[in-house]
Subunit: 427 residues, 2 copies
């Protein structure tokens, strides 16, 4: 561990710590902003090589975290998220290499116009600057988030969960070493050296030092970050996704999409939580039976509950619930109009889909649903940067500003205007 | 005055007032989001016609404001900003018609890709939603800001200064009437009906009700808004713009650009406040003499002060001062490197320019200056949405997220992802 990022002032003052880290990140960000693509890619490939070379160190550090986690009574699900082995570490290194191969958004020209006076105006992408990433127990986020932030020309300040503190330090040291080998500033990736929660508060208030905060983790973390932050936050709190089965849906597609959207993986944010079925749809029972057959608990409104003895009655809360489990709520609605009204009232604006063979109904749904992602005849489980062809994702945003839906490299940039003249003065 | 927007609950509770206005704005925004371009344009043209038809009413309302302003001892500059006459009102109506003629960004496709599984993904522009606009004594902002917000498919909540309360109400009534004539919701343009400052605080905290706040006015207003807001803010606080004269600058261009950038209009945010001159530049005296000859006070560092008895010594504060007046600070710097260091330390990230015939120096400056607008051989006074060909502007943003530099219709939109499939389920 040879990098200067491990030298820190005393942690008695969280604000002073974050101010110091922020100032060093800002200086590093200036260098990253003008680093050529091949230099950034080299740095990430070197970081990936360091991750592989340090496998024994990293797995030993992870073993310490696992032992502490077991002693502290973490659930088996939490321990599984925390656990690294050679295969998982190889996958982490591979993901860093994959980011190194992505197209660099920095410097890309968004548009260009000429003015009648001869001035040429263009907008070009530039990095956001300093990105704060706050996450929980998955140590892979340390490498994933750093790789995306760095490839887009930013500096990142990472603050991982206390369960993974040794794993994160070992992974961070590998990343910083890789950057140094490529003659990039190791300060471009810094790990908050304390688990003191005051440091998180200081990071969330670091206006001017940190340009954006990205929380990666459960709802409790995201809610706290959104509530406390004075720095802009890119995140989603809930993924209450809807699948609407229109009267004109193809029955086989409807069943296949309902089962996939709900049951493929129930714990991801793009999993459907509520299915809306047009009262005019011919065979809602087939959908209900397929879900129950796939092991899903079905909670229905009175019209749906009347269709099957295996459906339990939904309560009012069910329509605003992100189960993240093998449970679905189903409501009968009056056509697209009814679906739009239900979604407007209950969607978390993440991903909502319509199943129909009626093109007009589909286009109306696509136009009027105000969510980050709106789909026609596709599973909501596709809501993912990799599936969208972005190569990776740092998260999905449901806010309205800057970036919406899956966010990858482009979402971590902004733009500036360049004006090229030949002496023009303004009349 | 026939619109429902003038019926309000008691103003005893600013939060309740803003909650009610916000809910009505949200409902109106949904209708505006799907309003076709010609409907929005018709509404704005009808609003412009109402402004012209109500000239007598509006000028009478303005006369009340002017009388109150005189009684309250407003400065002549403030009274001039407040004053309307037939010509100025005609210009306001014309500006609304000009916005109606701009290209509608809503529905525009940003990009489109196909995935190997046959899904087609596109990003299309959608309105931001509800925009809060807080401004001072210029009544034209009521119409300008509303026109830009509405044409981009949003609902706007306007809160003007108390000096212009009668003028704003009369202009707002004309706008709402125009919208109603085009069968657009009058609630899409609402005017906060009280001058109670608590209503501003409530608007700034209205997360979930208001999507973005745009302050229009002096530094005091913008600073208060940026400090108090929990809703995202699009604005600039300072316009400390720099003009750097490189050793390789053409002498005639250098003089012309320095005088224009500083002196064309000294009170606008794009006016140059500091000129940096390369120590290797041949004739700095010609620049100083031209500025002094144009009536500008010149404050210089020791190297500049030594060149002319008419230069007064600059203090440390001068390098961070937005004079908005016929005063300029001038520093000698060591080439592009020195200019970049000075700008990095003192720029407000609004607009900075280089004057040079050396293409490499220009490109380095354009690449490395991290400001919303960076110019080569052009006057910083061009920093304006109209001059950039945007047709208008709601303001200039110096933040890093969402929109940067001049903001017009596109900056008042966001996007959503549309996914068109044919039954794809995720493996």
């Amino acid at each position: 561990m040879t990098t200067e990022t491990l030298i820190h002032p005393p942690v008695s003052d969280a604000d002073a710590l974050i101010a110091d880290m922020g100032a060093r990140a800002r200086a590093a960000a200036k260098r990253m902003a003008v680093a050529p693509t091949d230099r950034k890619a080299s740095g990430l490939r070197a970081a990936a090589a360091e991750l592989r070379a340090r496998e024994a160190d990293i797995l030993a550090a992870n073993a310490r975290d696992m032992a502490a986690g077991e002693a502290n009574g973490l659930t088996s699900a939490m321990l599984d998220r925390l656990r690294l082995d050679a295969g998982r570490l190889g996958a982490i290194a591979g993901a860093v290499e994959a980011v190194a191969a992505l197209a660099d958004p920095v410097g890309a020209e968004i548009d260009r116009t000429s003015r009648p006076n001869g001035m040429v105006l263009s907008r070009v992408r530039v990095p956001l600057g300093v990105i704060g990433i706050i996450y929980e127990s998955r140590p892979n986020v340390t490498a994933d988030a750093a790789a995306l932030g760095l490839m887009s020309g930013n500096a990142v300040i990472l603050r991982g969960g206390s369960e993974a503190v040794h794993s994160n330090r070992a992974i961070h040291a590998a990343l910083a070493a890789g950057l140094s080998e490529a003659e990039l500033p190791a300060d471009a990736v810094q790990l908050v050296p304390t688990q003191d929660r005051a440091a998180v508060g200081a990071l969330l208030r670091a206006q001017g030092l940190v340009d954006i905060i990205i929380p990666r983790g459960g709802k409790g973390l995201v809610a706290r970050v959104q509530d406390e932050a004075r720095v802009p936050v890119l995140a989603h709190l809930d993924g209450i996704c809807h699948l609407y089965i229109d009267a004109a849906a193809d029955p086989d597609r409807a069943v296949a999409l309902a089962v996939n959207a709900k049951m493929r993986r129930t714990g991801i944010c793009g999993a459907t939580e509520t299915i809306l079925i047009d009262r005019a749809y011919a065979d809602p029972r087939a959908i209900i039976d397929a879900l129950i057959g796939a092991g899903c608990e079905v909670r229905g409104d009175s019209a749906i509950a009347a269709l099957s003895p295996h459906v339990t009655p939904a309560s009012a809360n069910d329509w605003d619930c992100e189960y993240l489990d093998a449970i679905v709520s189903i409501a009968a609605v009056d056509g697209v109009e009814g679906a739009l009204a239900h979604i407007d009232a209950h969607s978390s604006r993440h991903t909502d889909a319509i199943v129909t063979e009626d093109r007009d109904a589909a286009e109306r749904f696509l136009a009027e649903v105000d969510s980050a992602i709106v789909m026609h005849n596709a599973s909501t489980q596709f809501a993912d940067g990799g599936e969208f062809g972005l190569g990776a994702e740092i998260g999905i945003a449901t806010g309205r500003l800057h970036a919406r839906g899956p966010v990858a490299l482009e979402g971590l940039t902004t733009y500036k205007w360049l004006v090229r003249g030949s002496g023009q003065t303004r009349p």
